[in-house]
Amino acid sequence: MKTRHTSRRNSGQVLIIVSLIVTMLLLSTALYIAETAKDVAVYEAEVEPAFSAYKLGTMNTIISALSNISNGGSKDILVADLNRFNSVVGNHSFNTIFKMEFTPFSMAPYQGGVWIDWGSSGKGVSSAYVSFILNSSGTAATCYSEYAVNITSELDVSGEYTLLNGTLKQVTVTCTVLNEGQPALARNFTVYYEQDGSLSPEEWVQVASPSITDYGNGTYIISFTAETTNPDDPLLVSVHCHDLRYIFIKANATCTQV
């Protein structure tokens, strides 16, 4: 009888302990869910404002590298500059562990993330293309972003000329400047023409002061007078241009007689 009485008195205490255990379980489950939700990477994190700044930084870095390469610099500068940017960002992310991976695009026509094509078909391209993966793990959240940056400056050139007297020709060249496929403004133009219309040997003559009309929509009309060796020589023009980002582009074209 004594044993039965004791067990009956203890049954309430056991239930209290059970209820406490249930509460602890509920609490730990809630904490687990909260921690798991914190660890899940947020894609295209708008919660991390620094991400947008880093994206802008990578874009500026590529513009700088392309400007350097197109003006005669080494192609290695692209990777070197991106590593430099990565290092600075990594060293100054105090409350997050920041990781940036980049891959220069290597499929044709790109090589090591760079494509320079200054052909004779009237089209010149200076381009850089790099894909990025950004990861940041902080106390508040883990963020993830995957994107690609393509910086392309393009110059389209076409021209025509009318014969003046003798070997003199009145030339009109139409140039279109594009940045990422959109009309863009140019910083400056330098125009050359081939003296005898043959590229062997190349004898380019710089036009001293061409007349340049800016239409404000990326289209420029360049007019000048050229003097070739013979009146029948074809007229080859070469237009060199820097866009507003100081990226150099060159395009050669053969003018048609009108």
Partner: protein
């Protein structure tokens, strides 16, 4: 009598549940209180980021820093912020050496709650450089 004894145990269980609910509710209140105190600082940090990003979006910020146009930089920051916001801007190079030789700020600090943002910006010029810009903001009381 037996019934009474049994009810005592049940009341204890109910008490235990109430205690655990109280414990849970007090736990949920703690982070909410902390968030309230950080709201204004978070807002200032967000404003600082937005100001720097809008200036950097067209390469204007890096050109000002590269040319060491501190007066123009101060004017740009000042015009982007409300007059009720105090600011102090410091420009560092990659090695965290301070570049600006003149203070770029709007007077002395007036609040003890200051939000600071470190912004990494890269130049677009062919002569590549990376700068760290520290913008501190505080509300004028």
């Amino acid at each position: 009598m037996r019934l009474l004894k049994d009810n005592r145990g049940q009341i204890r269980i109910i008490e235990a549940f109430f205690a655990s609910i109280l414990l849970l509710s007090s736990l949920t209140l703690i982070p909410a209180t902390q968030n309230n105190s950080n709201d204004s600082t978070d807002l200032l940090a967000s404003t600082a980021h937005n100001v720097l990003m809008s200036l950097d979006s067209n390469g204007y910020l890096t050109s000002l820093v590269s040319n060491q146009s501190w007066i123009n930089l101060k004017s740009s920051i000042q015009s982007s912020l409300s007059p009720m916001v105090w600011f102090n801007l410091t420009v560092f190079d990659e090695n965290m050496t301070c570049i600006n030789d003149v203070p770029i700020c709007s007077g002395s600090a007036v609040s003890d709650r200051i939000a600071a943002v470190d912004y990494v910006c890269a130049s677009t010029s062919s002569n590549y450089a990376v700068y760290i810009i520290r913008l501190q903001l505080a509300l004028v009381d």
